[in-house]
Symmetry: C2
Subunit: 138 residues, 2 copies
DNA sequence: GTGTAAATGAGAAAAGTTTTCATTTATATT
DNA sequence: AATATAAATGAAAACTTTTCTCATTTACAC
């Protein structure tokens, strides 16, 4: 019952919001660009404008429902927030995304920030490479 | 003698290329956007188009003379390549950039890629925060 | 059911970067 | 030194991703 999720964060329950949420929950890709979401909506015959998709995703981000990854050449992907921090591996061949958590890295980052006198607010870490599947297929 | 540097990497010796190189070498900021370089050129009375600045920086990157950081909100900064890898701390208040090297993180990244079956090609790591100077000034 | 504030859609705008194409320039060859 | 030519440049247009504007529609408190 997603309507409650929306009300809980102070957002009116509208069709675009419900549908975007539905796409994020049911898509087989966990990480989706606004364009991906928009196209998935078109495929389910929902005529929701791209501007609205961006708006809704940004609001969801503000509400803590989704998080946004800012990938290299300035385009963002979104994923449902699951409450746990993780970082990403990006396949440069198929653009697939995998996740990882590494406490050693997390801790070293805090140590570096401290050592440099930074009050750390966040970090962004991406490992680029060729995923297993892409290596196998030639 | 930068002319040799250019010839060495197969680039014709032109005024825009020499001047962009000069800016990168003499500016007090090690990390500069294309716009920064463009403005610095204007200040030294060199009428070099922004498109040329982008072209030259991209060629320099291809030639291994500079490296490009792709910062969050989709705008790039460039720095002279010094042959050694390092990562960056970004101040969210003054946009200042500091550098660090951490072998533990480097090694953990390789371990994670290996564990996930990735053939790692590169990585990008940014620590965001408020730098010492900005903390002190209020 | 109504009123009102909020949300939406369509298109314009913004920001950063790349491309196009006519003109200029560097350099290899005479 | 003059010439030929492939490459580089400048200016403007195009592009990409995202945000904004504003007229219209919708959700929901009353
Ligand atoms: Mn993720
Ligand atoms: Mn650097
Ligand atoms: Zn892959
Ligand atoms: Zn600062």
């Amino acid at each position: 019952m997603e309507s409650q999720d929306l009300r809980k964060v102070g957002l009116k329950v509208t069709l675009p919001r419900l549908k975007v949420l539905e796409i994020l929950e049911t898509s087989d890709q966990r990480h989706m660009s606004a364009e991906d979401v928009y196209k998935a909506l078109l495929e389910m015959e929902e005529e929701i404008g791209l501007a609205t998709v961006y708006r809704v995703l940004t609001q969801f981000e503000g509400a803590g429902l989704v998080s946004r990854l800012s990938i290299d050449g300035g385009h963002a992907v979104f994923e449902l927030e699951d409450g746990t921090h993780h970082d990403h591996l990006l396949c440069v061949r198929c653009n697939g995304i995998e996740e990882f958590v590494d406490e050693v890295i997390e801790q070293r980052q805090r140590a570096i920030a401290k050592q440099k006198g930074f009050e750390m607010t966040e970090h962004s870490l991406y490992i680029y490479g060729i995923c297993r599947k892409c290596q196998e297929s030639q």
